[in-house]
């Protein structure tokens, strides 16, 4: 026969314990498994994009190298450092939450938010540069420069100087602009263009800048899809941080109850780790082909 434990025996109801749980341990464990499951689905979600990246990079390595070389490695590296430091401050926030130190917690969360915002700011600078240069892969989402007002590109810090003249274009419809096929030329001269690549780049028997451009466009499309999705996760993370900051300021989190801080931390680290994969795949691969600084 089933025996029963009376639900009314425990009179002590810890703060933050939700009604469906028996005790804090169960709640903590649920939140933890839930977050890991959520991150597992996030991995599969990004996984689809990584698959697309792998398929097309294997098919058009030179176009990907050319696109990658044109990304700004200084901003990219800087952002990587920013994110790694933010992971540290996040871990410290969890640490101080566990110790129940309110001010240290609040400080770490603020630092994390500043670093996260810095990352997004740098991303915005990079995206703006792409907009000005005309290398956003969607027609109409680039700076429109009407015919007759052809202009030099807006210089942004750390921007490539090598192709300054090639950017003197007019772009009335805001189309994707890419004229530099030098890397493919180089690869052609060295004889390591694959036949699949040649089929993709050649027209009229010679390297065709427009066909090469279409493949670089695929790179930039994947770049924007991946970093965009990542930035979206950062924005969500900042929202979480703002909420945590408010709660931490109110002194909600103690040595007994800190799991929201811990879960937000897991999420924050996950978003960092995605960037740790994105940075080499997008910014570094292909540097050795010599198009870099």
């Amino acid at each position: 026969m089933a025996t029963n434990v009376s639900a009314h025996e425990h009179h002590y109801h810890p703060p933050g314990l939700q009604h469906q749980f028996e005790d804090m341990g169960q709640q903590q464990e649920s939140a933890s498994i839930g977050m890991w499951m959520f991150l597992a689905q996030e991995i599969m979600f990004f996984g689809g994009l990584f698959t697309a990246y792998l398929v097309f990079r294997a098919k058009f390595p030179m176009a990907f190298a050319a696109g990658s070389n044109h990304l700004d490695i200084y901003w990219g590296t800087g952002n990587t450092v920013v994110l790694i430091v933010s992971s540290l401050t996040m871990a410290l926030a969890v640490h101080y939450a566990q110790l129940g130190k309110r001010m240290a917690q609040v400080l770490c969360i603020i630092l994390t938010m500043i670093l996260g915002a810095t990352f997004l700011g740098v991303k915005a600078v990079e995206y703006t540069a792409k907009y000005n240069e005309g290398i956003v892969p969607v027609t109409g989402l680039n700076r429109r420069t009407p015919a007759g007002e052809a202009q030099a590109p807006v210089e942004t810090a750390g921007e490539h100087k090598t192709g300054a003249t090639e950017h003197a274009y007019h772009n009335p419809k805001g189309e994707f602009q890419w004229t530099d096929a030098s890397l493919a030329k180089k690869a052609e001269d060295a004889g390591y263009l694959t036949s699949a690549e040649k089929a993709g780049y050649y027209a009229n028997g010679v390297l065709d800048a427009n066909k090469f451009r279409d493949k670089v466009r695929i790179f930039y499309w994947i770049y924007f899809a991946m970093t965009g999705l990542h930035a979206l996760h950062m924005i969500v993370g900042l929202g979480l941080m703002a909420w945590l900051l408010w709660k931490a300021w109110l002194g909600t989190y103690t040595a007994d109850y800190y799991s929201p801080v811990e879960m937000s931390g897991l999420y924050w680290h996950f978003v960092d780790i995605v960037w740790i994969f994105l940075f080499p795949l997008l910014y570094l691969l292909g540097r050795h082909f010599g198009g870099g600084h």
Partner: protein, 368 residues
């Protein structure tokens, strides 16, 4: 008079190709296995359900937890049987999708919503395909728009036709008659109208049909016409020792050395690629000067050019039906008129030029 039906309810399609019976054996084999297990299981379930129907309300079933021996048995036996089915099926699959070497090639272009066929000997047909019985036939297929699928139930075979590449399908028809040809991959508005028939004839009748219907150019002739006159390929690719373009005589089926040291086999696919993407695989000893013909030649013209280049000799060209009698020049001119015929008209008389322009609205290709 499509498909002579003897029974009121059709139960079984005709067998009209060399591997129809092979596929049917496989079918009946699996049917027998599944009927045995299916009926066996159903009978046992029904028997138990009746025999062990409750004697009293809220009675109790026997206290049985399971049996390792039984579990292992009914894991291993189905596994072994399914492996037998798999191997049988794998053999059939391999046979169906591996064309033999000595085939007669027929070129197929799918287009919303019609099939265009081009025989090695000159016939062009739309939605109707004449083939001789007892001959191995390979369809070399591509499409101008979306994915289609050639499906001939009486031959028990089908294959998707994918844009941007050639796919193949082979069969050997055994029984003269008229059989259904379907598009089996959903392709838009008039998908169910994209069907036609395959007409299998005895070899002599087929020959008669061929000789009586030669108003069109053969692909080889059409290809030569394009090669020498319309596209001017001959200015580089024919001219003897000092020609600027690669030598094409005897090319087909051989290994070609490329700039950069690679070697490729000169297949249909290679020749097609070399026309639309000449710079991709440049033959050793030549400059990459050939312009692309992408957008300037239709799929059908490509097919003709490939056929012509094949006819110039080489290892793999023996299968081209070069027996075709020289035919009269095409009365209707270019085979590349832009119009298309409505997919379902019965107007495609044998031998009429199927590409005569008609007022067929283009398929809706909105890029919304």
């Amino acid at each position: 008079m499509i498909m002579q039906q003897n029974s009121w309810i059709p139960l079984f399609p005709e067998q009209a190709s060399s591997f129809a019976s092979e596929v049917d054996y496989l079918y009946f084999f699996i049917l027998a296995v599944t009927l045995f297990f299916g009926i066996g299981c159903a009978v046992v379930i029904f028997f138990f359900a009746v025999k062990y129907r409750e004697k009293e309300k809220f009675g109790r079933g026997a206290d049985i937890h399971g049996s390792m021996v039984l579990e292992v048995t009914w894991t291993i036996i189905p596994f072994v049987i399914s492996m037998i089915i798999f191997i049988f099926g794998a053999v059939v699959f391999y046979n169906l999708y591996r064309p033999p070497a000595d085939t007669m090639d027929i070129y197929v272009v799918g287009k919303q919503w019609m099939w265009k066929f081009q025989h090695g000997t000159g016939q062009r047909e739309i939605n109707e395909l004449h083939v001789p019985a007892g001959r191995r036939i390979k369809l070399v297929m591509t499409t101008e728009d979306v994915i289609h699928d050639v499906y001939i139930p009486a031959f028990r075979t089908k294959a998707d036709v994918v844009p941007g590449r050639y796919s193949t399908l082979w069969f050997e028809a055994t029984k003269p008659g008229k059989y259904h040809l379907y598009c089996a991959e959903y392709c838009g508005l008039n998908h169910s109208g994209m069907r036609g028939s395959v007409i299998v004839m005895p070899q002599n009748e087929f020959d008669n049909w061929l000789s009586g219907n030669t108003s069109g150019q053969t692909p080889v002739e059409a290809g030569r016409d394009l090669f020498e006159n319309k596209l001017g390929c001959a200015s580089c690719h024919a001219g003897g020792a000092n020609q600027r373009g690669a030598k094409l005589e005897g090319l087909f089926g051989t290994d070609v050395k490329l700039v950069g040291g690679q070697t490729v086999k000169a297949t249909d696919e290679y020749i097609r690629n070399s026309i639309i993407n000449p710079g991709a695989q440049v033959v050793e000893g030549y400059q990459p000067i050939m312009p692309t013909f992408k957008g300037q030649v239709t799929e059908e013209q490509l097919v003709s050019l490939v056929a012509y280049i094949k006819s110039l000799g080489g290892n793999g060209s023996a299968n081209m039906t070069s027996t075709a009698a020289p035919t009269a020049p095409a009365a209707t001119g270019s085979p590349t008129t832009g119009g298309t015929t409505p997919a379902n008209t019965a107007a495609n008389r044998q031998g009429s030029n199927p590409n005569a322009p008609k007022n067929q609205p283009e398929p809706a290709n909105s890029n919304r």
